[in-house]
Symmetry: C2
Amino acid sequence: MRRQAPVRTTRPTSRDVAAAADVSVATVSYVMNGRTDRRIPDITRDRVLEAAHKLGYVPDRSARMLRRRSTEQVCLVIGGFGVPVLDQMAASLHEVGDRHGFGLITMVVNSPSSARRGIDRLRERVADGVVLAGGLHHVGAAGLDDLVSADIPMMVLSNSAPADGFDVYREPETDAVRDAVDHLVRTGRRSIAYLGHEREVAEFHAGRPVDSDRFAGFVDALESHGLPVRPDLVVPGADGRAEGYRAAAAVLGLPEPPDAIISASSRAAVSAIWAARDLGLTVPSDVAVVGAGTIPEAQVTRPTLSTMGPDDGADFSDAAEMLFDRILHPRHGDWREISRPWTFTARGST
Amino acid sequence: MRRQAPVRTTRPTSRDVAAAADVSVATVSYVMNGRTDRRIPDITRDRVLEAAHKLGYVPDRSARMLRRRSTEQVCLVIGGFGVPVLDQMAASLHEVGDRHGFGLITMVVNSPSSARRGIDRLRERVADGVVLAGGLHHVGAAGLDDLVSADIPMMVLSNSAPADGFDVYREPETDAVRDAVDHLVRTGRRSIAYLGHEREVAEFHAGRPVDSDRFAGFVDALESHGLPVRPDLVVPGADGRAEGYRAAAAVLGLPEPPDAIISASSRAAVSAIWAARDLGLTVPSDVAVVGAGTIPEAQVTRPTLSTMGPDDGADFSDAAEMLFDRILHPRHGDWREISRPWTFTARGST
DNA sequence: CTGTTAGCGCATTCAC
DNA sequence: GTGAATGCGCTAACAG
């Protein structure tokens, strides 16, 4: 049974409802928005509601946006999908956004050109607030300035960006990495491999400064123990499970394999445990493994996975709340920081 | 160095640009939209562009939306985050959306009330098109009707919903499941466990009809081999890695453990392999494992993971293209279906 | 308590 | 080739 094509009459507007309920458009607006500062008698209210329902009236967001000069949407900028921590961020934004009647739009920034497009779109005011959780590198300082000068409330996830023009969310990882390395050295490890993200590793091997709290902490900690940073043990592989497996298998197959692996993502760390076991190695006696980030899986692997991460797991409601606070109560200056230092938790894999 | 708070002068409008360039707002509009049907001399064009740049003019989307009666955004409705296949969908939508100048908004539907809110918001025309990839159960038939009567182009991912009022994307899994079961039985398996999604399993145990192609195929295949469906081997655990591990460990610890496990997600299947190994079992000789869905990891596990899935992996550009086709060339009736039947690929784990 | 009015910023007729 | 005028649908002043 094929459904009838709707009779393409134009959809009803507030004027139509006003006419049907025999009130003014203003009253319709007040009723539809449930405004309590306007005293509308229940009789009138019901008449409007009934007319709206009968006509199938639904307010038009575009018009509301234009008039209110607010979109009631926030934008989450990420570098790509499949990263657990960003799923958490998105979930938190959805959750607190719902409470405020806000929707979420996502934007993927994985190249300079997509960064340019994204910034332009943001400047067109598609959203009342932004969480910059990825692609920061492609956005760059100039892009950040564009966003700041567009005067749009923003929260940036970064350990290095100054809180100037926006709020920032930091997860200082240095101490956790140092603790992890200390722990590994104390238990007799001498050659520690680093499974990093593409960027980190590329910059390191190119001899450029590496903008990574985590990697810097790793290098510092090694040096403070008088241990060398072996370039052949700094490899990419943290960006996915398959990548992690291959990278771990590769370093463990080296003539002088590491006796410990620190991975910049916990999901790659899990893969590293697999790889070790598949090579006939025992974790942790032959090789220790440490992951970065909180994933539930860490508790069910054998051995359980030692991790570095924020104490209270991955929940970003505080970041979301802060963004909405700034959207709802705009003020300039007074930029805030949230800091959630990571700690090292030794479990079975070390 | 603290950045100056911007002088909160109102942002420039096309009128301001027109004045600065000494042209009319119409000309500004034509230039900004790069319209080729209007012949604008380069001199004029450059003057407008220069004025726009100097004033920092950026067109306002809300106004454009209202006037054009289109938002140039599509909406992806999902049931939650962390599902690889949805990441693929989001990536595809972003990709082809970018080509058409469209943005993406996401919506999480994980309860009847969030479904209601989502539908209402969609009816407010926050997006020109919708991909319903999750939460379909909470939306329900009535919700679908609301969306259809709102006359908004839509693509629904479902194996059961009729293509009536919207396009549908199907992934028939029955044949693949049958092939998997056939393969398992042929290689001597007699008790096959099913790691399912929460809903599937709950409905099964409640004795209600299970709206799952995959599960139905599983039951049919077992029966055609004269094998019973053991209720104690139909367990939830496909919704996550940790869940999968626990569920697999539990069934494998049963007095009469299964000799094969079919998991409704490949990531839980990977966990099942872990669990088996941790219990001292060998895969596949002691227990075979099959996963549903394409993940790169399947190739690096030991043994490699036998999976059921679409032949060409997880790519939804065809779905995205179809949605945009309907948005850009609206027509009623003629609802289309894309079907990507799953096949079974035997690898090391069977 | 409710109606009238005036835009929000833009894209699009229709004159010239 | 360009400009003046109109209105998308709604909300917020301001009257009454």
